[in-house]
Amino acid sequence: MAIRGESNATPATDVGASSSSRMPWRVAEVTTVIEETPRVRTLVLRVPDWPGHMAGQHVDVRLTGEDGYQAQRSYSIASAPEASRVMLTIERLEDGEVSPYLAAEVRAGDRFELRGPIGRYFVWTAAVGGPLFLIAGGSGIVPLMAMLRHRAAIKSTVPAYFLYSSRTVEDIIYRGELDRLAALRDGLTIYHTFTRQQPEGWTGGARRIDRAMLADACPPRERPRIFICGPTSLVETAAALLLDLGHERGLIKTERFGPTGTMT
């Protein structure tokens, strides 16, 4: 898919100049591509005049074909606000319209349109406080990783509990960095569970996230700020179990993947 490069292009679908000045489409250039797992890549982007973002926010990405056909998807920002570049981590979906390009074809130097940052709801800042209870399945880790990176960057020591469900060890996104963050011993505890295949000798979680795992990871009496991101079924199951365990509704924030898994 060819990508339109003009930053001042006004798409037919915009309602007028005022909308693009509020949150304009910007042309992002890929500077580096990082292979995270066989199905997941991180794109490091140069975004002119990027206004900065908060951990947990997302962007809209728009690709334009040579025939003018446009496809638009939302992707969570993986990088901390402190990072010098905006990073998106994208999982390849076989039937996806946008992700096969971003997760397989795109190369350093390629450009595409992006707007953001978007969302004030699924956001963690130091002012939100802690403890933090993060729950993710697969590429649902992306906005939560921005929170963990931000927490490390500001040297926050609020307790953070991260429950992460992956299919196998090889599917853990940011595996090395998660190990390094946990080794800092600054109050972060990471619990892995593997739903398809467990490493030899593994004594941790070996099933989908369930009530016992949620109860063990962080009790309601700590009144954690909870962020859940992943496939709809995981998000809804975890949120219902957490309410049943006694966590407060107002402290639980969710981010579901779309029907085609577009919201990473």
Partner: protein, 95 residues
């Protein structure tokens, strides 16, 4: 505007997911604003409301009573916005 339940077979998103679409209408990011349902009077954060649709159009539905509290849709003639189902929208200054 499409019929209300046309897109209901697809699983819903969170209101937060279509924050970009809302920014085409609002000066502020309203995903952390509070919306009061005109049907049952319950309040919820816009980012927490169930949304059906995508970047070209979305229906926001009350979690409690299923009332369509907001509808936003792109058409060839422009952008339509319908808030009949909401009693009010409370936007607080960002921290």
């Amino acid at each position: 505007m499409t019929t209300d339940h046309e897109s209901d077979s697809a699983p819903p998103l969170d209101g937060n997911a279509v924050g970009g679409l809302l920014r085409e209408l609002f000066v502020l990011d309203i995903t952390a604003a509070t919306l009061t349902c005109g049907g049952c009077g319950i309040t919820a954060l816009v980012g927490d409301v169930r949304v059906f649709g995508g970047p070209m159009g979305a229906i926001f539905r009350c979690v409690h009573c299923d009332t369509a509290v907001m509808r936003v849709v792109h058409t060839p003639t422009g952008l339509w916005f319908d808030m009949r189902g909401a009693r009010n929208l409370h936007v607080t200054p960002h921290a």
